[in-house]
Amino acid sequence: MRFSDYCSLTLVIGLFILAALLPLIPDSDYLMSLALPIAMYTVLATSWALFSGPTHYISLATGAFYGVGAYVVGTGIEFIPYPVLLLIAGFSGIVLAGLVGIATLRLSGVYFVIFTLGLAELIRQLVTWIQNNFTGSRGLYVLTDITENYIYWQLIALTALVFLVGWLIKRSRLGFALRIIGNDELVAGHCGINSAGCKVILFMVSGCFAAVVGAVMAPRFTYIEPSMAFSPELSFQVVIMALLGGVHRLWGPLVGVIPFTLLWEVIASSFPTQTVLLLGVSFLLIVYFIPDGVVGRLEDLVKSMRLARPGSNRG
């Protein structure tokens, strides 16, 4: 590693420590109510971008994995220790993503989008059917002593983990393969890359994170209703946040999550009766005016500044 790498590593670790200390600030409750969704969406959007960034597949399955994670905790909380449940949730996410990936990643882009959109609905129905006919009302209540702060810390730890995993993938053969696939899938095949396999692995990583996030969040909701756990809205929010930030850099989604959560908060608190309308409009504005994401915009800006500086050379 070079010196600058050490610098950025220190910076990143410092930021994480700062973020983790947030709940300890007195009167930080309102801040926390924003920081918690930011942390949650950062994990979701970053892990989403790990898959969708390089493969260009828009996955709307986040809600499905999230719901599965929440249900694992809901069903098992009374007789399995919580940390084990997190592992089971992650594992379920991996298995589900693997199955779905093998079945659908051969489909073309738009079919994949629709399929994943339906996936949350499909799983919700299977889960409720099983619950209805076999387990009864078990799995609905999650009464634990896990406080908001602990949930937040778990999410921060997950954020660190997702960044670490993302960084490791980037440096690995897998990451390199993905960049080639993203450029030209035919060439990738001729280079001996198993593109379907790479996509499935990534989808599994992303599904695992989403499921664990669902599991972590479950205690916060106390009562798990299927229609809310498997919410398609969540999937879309993750997509739009990641795209707003930019999916080609590891930290891109983070840059999208923060402004979007804040914007959301401003809309929700200032225009409580027109929330949905304004959300729709802001959604449209993002699609029309920031198509390359904030990161893209930033990079353009940096580029134009460099060009504007006299005597500077390219690169």
Binding site: D29, Y30, M32, S33, L34, P37, Q125, T128, W129, Q131, N132, N133, G136, S137, L140, Y141, L143, T147, E148, M217, R220, F221, T222, Y223, I224, E225, P226, S227, M228, S231, E233, E265, A268, S269, P272, T273, T275, V276
Partner: protein
């Protein structure tokens, strides 16, 4: 459009109320769905009652404080889009940023339970009206400022069974019951607790199926239930399915002596849609609409909000606001701990009769209602006065 003008009028009213009494308003937060799956229900039982309550209080100058001054109420509304994460965020925002003095409980079991820790954390009295759960004991122990008013799942299920049992003992129906439920938390929980109760009472569930939330065509359900030739039909249903099941039962001429659909049977829109044919239909909830205080309530509800109130959760929501109102005036200031304690210790006169919380739970409540002569009368309860006798349904 209508809503917009109403809003303007409301704001105007508040403005003038604010002018006439210089006292600082009491901030009341309100979080409930305006969009999402539960928005339809909240638009009938939650929002209009908050509007009515605020209107009435401000019309009489505000809440009386111990120093003799009158403080109007100011409602801060948030839409949680039927998303528990948003409910939590909105309640937290109300508590920390808006510094609301009190917060009206959210709408729906899930949203109430999700936000309960926040209410507890900041010491807000949390009169969870539209929450039906069997875990009231555990929840009230965990959250000392949480109150329940609508009843428990088991009470709802056993009340229906009791009514059917009475009918059977009178020789009006036989043992054959068809039961269906919507496969969402509410329906699953009710069906799950109803099954053993039916069995214990000697009923036979000749048809027992669930259907997914959002099913467009429920006719296979009604056809299937009809084929099992029951004399009673029980559906633990949500509003859209309540309407659909009733319409289909009518079309198919499902000839049962007892026809029960859960949520929304008590909605005015239900009567509006089906007219006289719903005579004898049973549903969740119920009130005693002949009680004078309720008659006043229905009249002013129509005047202020322009809509008819329903026959169950709406009046209960209003009653919970009356509890809050009387507790604040009883304490004479906005000390939340004192108000919570006051709610625990005192009894209240509400549109639903006299209320006294027993271990933070109202244990006398309506469970089953029936359309009789164009009104939805309570026919099953846990010890409410003015209960009518359930009658059998005589065709569509």
């Amino acid at each position: 459009m209508k809503q917009l003008t109403q809003l303007i009028i409301l704001i105007g009213a508040m403005f003038f109320a604010g002018l006439s009494s210089a006292a600082e308003p009491i901030k009341i937060g309100a979080v409930a769905p305006k969009t999402g799956p539960l928005a339809g229900g909240a638009a009938i039982t939650q929002w209009p009652n908050i509007q009515l309550w605020a209107h009435q209080i401000n019309a009489r100058g505000g809440l009386k404080m111990s120093d003799g001054s009158k403080r109007p109420v100011e409602i801060i509304e948030y839409d949680d889009r039927t998303n528990p994460a948003e409910t939590i965020k909105a309640v937290q925002r109300l508590a920390t940023k808006d510094k609301a003095d009190f917060i009206v409980a959210p709408y729906g079991t899930g949203l109430n339970l999700a936000s309960a820790p926040i209410f507890a954390k900041y010491g807000y009295p949390h009169i969870a009206v539209s929450a039906i759960t069997d875990k009231t004991g555990e929840l009230t122990k965990r959250y000392p400022s949480m109150f329940f008013t609508l009843g428990t799942t088991t009470a709802f299920a056993s009340s229906v069974v009791d009514i059917l049992k009475a009918m059977r003992d009178a020789g009006e129906i036989n043992n054959r019951v068809a039961m269906v439920n919507v496969a969402d938390a509410f329906g699953i929980e009710l069906a799950d607790s109803a099954r053993p109760i039916f069995k214990a009472a000697g009923f036979e569930l000749v048809f027992d199926k669930s259907y997914p939330l959002g099913t467009q065509d429920l006719s296979p359900i009604i056809k299937g239930a009809k084929a099992a030739s029951p004399t009673s039909f029980v559906a633990w249903s949500y509003p859209p399915d309540t309407f659909a099941l009733t319409e289909l039962a009518k079309i198919e001429n499902l000839d049962v002596k007892a026809f029960y659909t859960a949520v929304a049977t008590c909605f005015p829109a239900y009567a509006g849609k089906f007219g006289a044919s719903i005579e004898g239909n049973l549903g969740a909830g119920g009130v005693n609409p002949d009680a004078p205080e309720l008659q006043d309530y229905y009249k002013s509800h129509k005047e202020v909000t322009g809509k008819d109130a329903d026959y169950w959760a709406g009046p209960v929501t209003y009653a919970s606001l009356q509890v809050l109102e009387q507790a604040i005036e009883g304490v004479g200031n906005t000390d939340r701990a004192a108000v919570t304690q006051y709610i625990k210790d005192n009894s209240f006169k509400t549109v639903m009769g006299d209320w006294k919380f027993n271990n933070q739970v109202i244990d006398q409540y309506w469970t089953v209602g029936q359309w009789q002569g164009g009104k939805f009368y309570g026919v099953g309860s846990t010890g409410k006065a003015g209960q009518k006798k359930a009658v059998i349904k005589k065709g569509w």
